[in-house]
Every structure is written in structure tokens, then in C-alpha cells.
């Protein structure tokens, strides 16, 4: 019995050395599987893009790349785990828009400054959608009525409080010069339940990305008034921008990748190069198009600056809405 225990210990100690050696051999990255932390649940949009990129990434890096879903707390659980991970490049976080709001909402002390940004690969603008038999055909018609009618005549929905589509609504009202408190906001767990509410005529207007409502819009039961971006999207160029209705607002959500602070430079470089290869490939572009995800690329420092500026911009907005906990 003692012999066996001894044997086991010897085996373990030797395995430690084996692994330790693997790590000391610098410049050789990666030598073991990489994991991508996805702060959102399996099967969702973020998860699907993460799995696709992970697959392509593993072909380039020659090591398995696994997606790990760490969900909960409006993304705070996953983002936190990603920031706390060992800074060796073997844990990448699939950072999303929500990282910029977490601290303002009081869910976490995390800010975008707690990561080294690799790159951003996606941006989905919010869109404003109403029922097909609604009398509004443009965003300005809708807002004229919101302005003229008494408070609480309209109900909006789209996502949870303080999530992307709710914040897009706030940005839109800000740009239109209307107090967001003039409409009722029905919180929902995500875009899908909000769409259901709109189809059942239980709410009047929802904000979410266009691809999320595209099946119903093309099927003739819903109508998208405007998309909150600077230019029309070539994938659905029949949808006007908010700017065309005289409301200068562009807002939406985005996805990207980042690693914990203190990750060695050469690792950051290898990962960034590999990711750039992935997102510039035709298969990736086809994938994004098939799903209706918008492509927007910002690399390294540019991406970091973008996150910080968005983080700073969200502070006053969330405070104004009274969401700061």
C-alpha cells in the first residue's frame, strides 16, 4: 500500500516537472489547449461566434481552442473570470459591450482597462421596430407623437435594464431630446422575449439589432423604422438610418477578444496575428453574413481606446437613467 502511494507521488511530482518545463520554454506559444471564456450562454449569438472563431483559431495555432461559457450577472461572472485568469495567453475573454456598463451599474468593479485588448470583430447597430400595422412609418413620426402625447402613452422593450438595447434606447432619446422617462420601459430577458411581446401587441416599440427581427419583418408582421448607425447597412439597405429622420444617433453592441493584464507581449502578438488571420478569411465573412452579424474591426490600442471612451460615455447616461446601484 505504501509503495503504491509512493509511486503515485512520484508520478505526480514528475508530471509537475513535465508541465513546468513546457511553460519555461519561452517564445513557444501555444503548447497546450487555449480556452475562450464566453460570458453568455451556450447557443446565443456571442457563443456561436465564439465557437466559430475558436474553431478557426485552433486550425491556425495547432492547439485545441475550447469555448467555456461562464454566465450570469449580466455578463459580470464571465468577464470577471476572464480578467482574473492567469496572464499566460491560454485564457482569452470574449469581451462584449456590457463590460463598459458593469461598473456603472454596480455589478462589478471591472472596467475595460482591466484587459489587454486584442481586437474587436463585430458591431451590431440597434434598430427601432414596431408592429407592421402600426401607423408609424418613420422614426420622426414616432418621436413627434411621443413628444406630443402625454407621458406613459408608449411602452418600449428590448433587453434587461442596463443592457445593450435598453442603453441604445436611452442614447436614442438623448439624441432626440426627449426624456426617456416619458415612455414606459418593459424589461425583458433579451431580444427574443421582447419580440414575442411586440408580436402579441403587448408593447409598442422595441430596440434590438435588425437581424434579430429580420424573420418577422420579412414575414410581414413587424416593421423596422430605423437603424441606429451612421450609414445604411449594405446587408439590409432598405432600412433607413436614424440620421435620415433627423435624429443623430448611432448605438449598438459589439464583440471582441481580450487577455488579462500582464500577458507577455509576444503572446499578445501571436494571438492578435492569428485572430486577424481568422477574421480576414472568407469563411469568417461568410459566417457573419449568414447570421446577419455586422463586421467591424478595431485592433489593439484602437480597440482599447474605443472601449475606454465608451465606458466613460456610459457613466453619465446610466446615472441619468437612475440605474447606478
Amino acid at each position: 500500500m505504501k509503495k503504491l502511494l509512493l509511486l503515485l507521488t512520484v508520478l505526480f511530482v514528475s508530471s509537475f516537472f513535465a508541465f513546468a518545463q513546457g511553460e519555461t520554454e519561452a517564445e513557444d506559444f501555444p503548447t497546450k489547449p487555449i480556452q475562450v471564456i464566453c460570458p453568455w450562454s451556450a447557443g446565443g449569438g456571442t457563443d456561436r461566434t465564439a465557437r466559430f472563431v475558436a474553431d478557426e483559431l485552433s486550425k491556425i495555432l495547432g492547439q485545441p481552442v475550447n469555448v467555456v461559457n461562464k454566465t450570469g450577472g449580466n455578463g459580470s461572472v464571465g468577464h470577471q473570470a476572464g480578467a482574473d485568469a492567469k496572464p499566460d495567453g491560454y485564457t482569452i475573454t470574449n469581451v462584449t459591450f456590457d463590460i463598459c456598463a458593469l461598473k456603472h451599474l454596480g455589478y462589478s468593479d471591472l472596467t475595460p482597462a482591466e484587459y489587454i485588448p486584442l481586437l474587436q470583430f463585430n458591431e451590431d447597430a440597434a434598430s427601432v421596430t414596431v408592429s407592421a400595422d402600426s401607423k408609424y412609418n418613420t422614426l420622426s413620426e414616432l418621436f413627434d407623437d411621443i413628444k406630443s402625447k402625454p407621458a406613459s402613452s408608449f411602452t418600449f422593450s428590448g433587453s434587461a435594464i442596463g443592457s445593450a438595447w435598453d442603453l441604445s434606447r436611452l442614447a436614442l432619446f438623448d439624441a432626440a431630446g426627449v426624456d426617456p422617462a416619458k415612455v414606459l420601459y418593459v424589461p425583458s430577458k433579451g431580444a427574443a422575449p421582447a419580440i414575442t411581446e411586440l408580436l402579441g401587441d403587448h408593447v409598442d416599440v422595441i430596440t434590438c439589432s435588425y437581424p434579430e427581427v429580420a424573420p418577422q419583418v420579412e414575414g410581414g408582421s413587424l416593421k423596422t423604422l430605423a437603424v441606429l448607425s451612421d450609414e445604411r447597412n449594405p446587408q439590409f439597405d432598405n432600412i433607413p438610418t436614424a440620421k435620415e429622420s433627423g435624429i443623430d444617433c448611432s448605438y449598438g453592441t459589439w464583440r471582441g477578444f481580450a487577455v488579462p493584464l500582464e500577458t507577455p507581449d509576444y503572446v499578445v502578438e501571436i494571438l492578435t496575428d492569428a485572430l486577424e488571420q481568422v477574421i480576414n478569411s472568407q469563411t469568417f465573412i461568410d459566417f457573419m453574413n449568414a447570421n446577419g452579424f455586422g463586421i467591424k474591426i478595431r485592433v489593439g490600442q484602437e480597440y482599447g481606446d474605443f472601449m475606454i471612451s465608451q465606458y466613460e460615455g456610459l457613466g453619465p447616461m446610466i446615472e441619468k437613467a437612475g440605474y447606478n446601484n
Binding site: G72, G73, S76, V77, G200
Partner: protein
């Protein structure tokens, strides 16, 4: 339709389909692995197949896994999937009475029948049901939640105060985390794990599975238990004739439960787990032998398992008719359809009728495969049960722990499983029923969020909760369910006293 039937019998559909169904047995049989995880894993593999092959895999895995979740629930008291929590209530007792084989075989056949009925409803009246489901909003979901919660008094044995106590704990646990209505983090103490809330699967595995193992390990002189477990594997035997006899006796109940399950599944705001609990409560409430429920009732096995499989068909209703997901699996399906180059949504019935027929055919044929593969699964599990009891207990503990971890890749959930294992153990000692706690945890948010969001919409007025037709009907059902018995008693009393006076 026949064309569709023939078209699904090709090798490159059949092989992935059957493989997925076998995988489903694994997924359901191991606590913590969910059908959603399996589907998320399968979908990227199917991008290069023909659409129906991918869809067949998804449909197959969801049917087998929801059945297979009942296998460990019945044999070991470990619910394998969220929807199999009800299977521990009577199935496990039946196993101890030496009828585990009968229970699980019945479970399998009723799953298949429920599945078929669910698909038939999907085929024939889905547009009707989908439009009905759209009428549900916060007011209706609130009453549905209340109806479900009130089941906890129906299903709990013994003291009602203890039942309420248990339910209260469940609801209180469900309030931990970010409040959906205001975005305020409740009871989180600035802890990022608590921010994510307490998910009910680890709680359920702990309360039922771990607590039972603890009981067996800690109680040293429990001759009763060791005797009971000694030849559990022999008790997995059963006669088919007996199974068919029971199915015949309870056929109406199976149909009724399947319809309830399908309707609840069709609602985007409720799923197979709610369906199983509600149908269990409804079965007990309308049963001629309600006292048998929780003591090894056949009805208690039959009802929830028919309902949760019928709910799968239901969840496809809003997905196919409107392109809105009925649950997490169908939301993955809608995403996968985009990758197949299909446009999910209202147009699918016009443009892709062939595919829709194929989906229906796959759904029906899956039930036949389910019976065959299900039996193999039961057989495999029976082998595991042949091991020494202590080894089985050890394995249950470690698989529950790792399963809980796998759900959200979070060590926090391991703590939850263990803590609730201990809580479950002490609750059993204090004769506090466990089912209401699970029910409170599942339905607490449904009641609270819908009440409060409903009031946000009406700016504080409660009237719409009663004035809308469906919400009124739901309210009346609740009143009748709990008011009818006392009123009947009262009338009876009045009559008897009158007679005495005469």
C-alpha cells in the same frame, strides 16, 4: 408527408440522427449535462450536412435526453435533467418497492406517447396554438406562476406549514442576483458569483441526490436501506404485459398530461420543467388516489414524463410559426437554420413546406427510436447498479459535483450542490418536503417578475390581471382548485345539518 417520411430514411440522415439520440442518453443520464449543452455542441458539426440531418440530430437529442434524465432519477434519486425533478418523487419510491423496472419502462413508453401527441398537436393545430400563446403576456404568466406555486401545497406530504416554509426558502433563493425589473443586485454582497444568481439544477441535484447518498453513508445501522439496495439491479426487471396494462389503465391521464405539457411548452415563457411539475400537481389533484402520490404512485410517474416530452413538441410551435424561440434549444435551432441558409420565421410554412414536413416526420419516427435506444440506456444503467453500493454512492457524489461544475464552469456551483445536499439531508430528518423548494426556485421569478413588470406596464393598476380573458380563466382555475373542496364541504355540512333539523 409520405414523401417526407421516405426522404428521412437515408444513410446520411439516419446515422447522425441515431448517434445524436445515443448521445442524448449520456447527456440525460449524467447529472449536470443538459440537452442545451449537447445541442450547442452538435450544431457547429452540422453546418456542412443537409439541414434535415442537423435538425434530426437536435430533435433526437432533445427527446432522448429528457427521457434519460428520468433513469438516474428513478434508480438513484439523482435528477439527470431540469425536467426530471418530478421523477424522483414516485419513481425512486417504486424502485425501493422493487418496481423500479416497471417505473422506468412505463416512463419510457409514456415519454414516447407524450412525444407523439406533442408532435401531432404541432402538426395539426400549431398556427392556432401559436396565436393563443402570443396572447400570453405578464398578466397571464403571473397567474400561471401562481398556479404552479400553489401546486406545492398539493404535492407536499404532511404538514402544510412545513411545505410553505420549504417553498418560501425556494422563492427567497430565487431572488438572489440581479433583479430583472430594476437591475438592482439583491443579496449579492458584491460577490460576482452571487450576482449570477443561484441556478436551480445544482440545488436540485443536491437536495435530492446528494442528500440521499449522505443519508446512506451517515446512517450506519440502516438495515432497511442496505437491504433495499442489495438487489436493486434485479428489480430493474419487468414484464411488458404489465407495462401495457398500466398504460391502458392510465391512457386518459397520459393524454391529459401530454396536452398540458404541450400547451405549457408552447408558451415562450415556460418550459418542460414547469410542464412536468404542473402536470404532476394536476394529476394528483384529479386522481382517485391522491394519497398514493409520493408513496410510489404509478400515476405520479406517468403524468410528468408524458408532459415533459410533449413539451418539446410544444416548444417548436412558436419557433416554426413565428420564428421566436420557445426555449433555449429552439433558439439554437433558429440560429442553426440561418447557417443552413434557411429563413426561420413566418415564411417557413410557405417556402419550406418540404422541410417542415420532414421535421414532423423526424419527430414522429424519433419516438420509435427513443423506445429502442431508451431500452439500451436502461440496460446500461442496470449494469452500473450491479456494483457495490458504496462505489455507486462515491460515483454519485463525484458525478454530481462535476456535473454541477460543468453547467456554468463555476466552482461556486459545486459549493451549492454540497450545501444543498446537507440542507436536503436535514430537511428530510425534519420531515420538510423538498419538492416545494424546487418549485419555489423555478417559479418564484415567474411570479415575481411578471407581477412587477405587469404593474410597470399598468403603472400600478392591478385590474388587467383580472380583466383579460385568459388571465381571468387562469385566476378562476386557481380559485376553483382550492376553493371547490371547502365549498363542497360547506354545502354538504349545510345539507346534513338541515336533515338533522328535520
Amino acid at each position: 408527408m409520405i414523401e417526407a417520411l421516405v426522404s428521412i430514411f437515408q444513410i446520411d440522415v439516419l446515422i447522425p440522427w441515431i448517434l445524436a439520440m445515443v448521445l442524448g442518453i449520456f447527456v440525460g443520464g449524467v447529472p449536470g449535462l443538459t440537452a442545451t449543452m449537447a445541442v450547442a455542441l452538435i450544431v457547429p458539426l452540422t453546418y456542412h450536412m443537409q439541414p434535415i440531418a442537423g435538425l434530426a440530430m437536435i430533435i433526437g437529442v432533445s427527446f432522448t435526453s429528457i427521457f434519460a434524465g428520468d433513469i438516474p432519477a428513478t434508480f438513484l434519486r439523482v435528477p439527470g435533467t431540469p425536467a426530471s425533478g418530478t421523477a424522483v418523487l414516485d419513481g425512486y419510491i417504486l424502485t425501493h418497492k422493487g418496481k423500479g423496472g416497471l417505473a422506468i419502462a412505463l416512463d419510457l413508453f409514456c415519454s414516447a406517447i407524450g412525444g407523439i401527441l406533442g408532435i401531432l398537436i404541432l402538426i395539426f393545430i400549431s398556427p392556432l396554438l401559436a396565436n393563443f400563446a402570443l396572447k400570453f403576456t405578464h398578466y397571464e404568466y403571473f397567474w400561471l406562476g401562481v398556479l404552479g406555486l400553489s401546486m406545492s401545497t398539493v404535492i407536499s406530504k404532511g404538514s402544510n406549514t412545513k411545505g410553505f416554509f420549504s417553498m418560501g426558502i425556494g422563492v427567497l433563493l430565487s431572488t438572489v442576483g440581479i433583479d430583472l425589473v430594476t437591475g438592482y443586485p439583491r443579496f449579492t454582497f458584491h460577490n460576482s458569483e452571487l450576482m449570477g444568481g443561484i441556478s436551480f439544477i445544482p440545488v436540485m441535484i443536491g437536495l435530492f441526490g446528494i442528500s440521499e447518498v449522505l443519508n446512506q453513508i451517515i446512517t450506519t445501522n440502516n438495515i432497511d436501506i442496505s437491504l433495499k439496495n442489495a438487489d436493486i439491479s434485479d428489480k430493474t426487471k419487468f414484464s411488458l404485459r404489465e407495462v401495457f396494462k398500466e398504460i391502458k389503465t392510465h391512457f386518459l391521464l397520459i393524454v391529459k398530461s401530454s396536452v398540458i405539457g404541450n400547451l405549457i411548452g408552447a408558451l415562450p415563457g415556460a418550459g418542460a420543467d414547469v410542464a412536468a411539475w404542473v402536470s404532476y400537481g394536476a394529476a394528483k389533484k384529479t386522481s382517485k388516489h391522491p394519497e398514493e402520490f409520493g408513496n410510489g404512485s404509478i400515476e405520479g410517474v406517468v403524468a410528468p414524463t408524458s408532459a415533459n416530452n410533449a413539451a418539446i413538441g410544444g416548444s417548436w410551435i412558436p419557433a416554426l410559426v413565428f420564428g421566436i424561440p420557445g426555449d433555449t434549444i429552439t433558439s439554437i435551432v433558429l440560429g442553426a437554420m440561418l447557417m443552413y441558409g434557411l429563413k426561420p420565421g413566418p415564411l417557413i410554412f410557405e417556402q419550406e413546406m418540404g422541410l417542415v414536413n420532414q421535421i414532423f416526420a423526424v419527430g414522429l419516427v424519433s419516438q420509435i427510436f427513443l423506445i429502442i435506444i431508451g431500452f439500451a440506456g436502461i440496460k446500461a444503467y442496470s449494469y452500473i447498479l450491479k456494483f457495490e453500493k458504496n462505489i455507486i454512492n462515491t460515483s454519485i457524489i463525484i458525478f454530481s459535483i462535476i456535473g454541477a461544475f460543468a453547467l456554468r464552469n463555476n466552482t461556486f456551483d459545486i459549493g451549492i450542490v454540497i450545501i444543498f445536499g446537507l440542507i436536503g439531508y436535514f430537511c428530510e430528518k425534519g420531515k420538510i418536503p423538498l419538492a416545494p423548494m424546487i418549485l419555489g426556485l423555478i417559479l418564484g421569478p415567474m411570479v415575481e417578475e411578471n407581477l412587477r413588470i405587469g404593474l410597470v406596464k399598468t403603472e400600478g393598476a392591478f385590474l388587467p390581471f383580472l380583466s383579460r380573458p385568459i388571465s381571468l380563466v387562469l385566476f378562476l382555475i386557481i380559485v376553483l382548485m382550492f376553493g371547490l373542496a371547502p365549498i363542497k364541504k360547506l354545502i354538504k355540512k349545510m345539507f346534513t345539518t338541515n336533515k338533522e333539523k328535520k
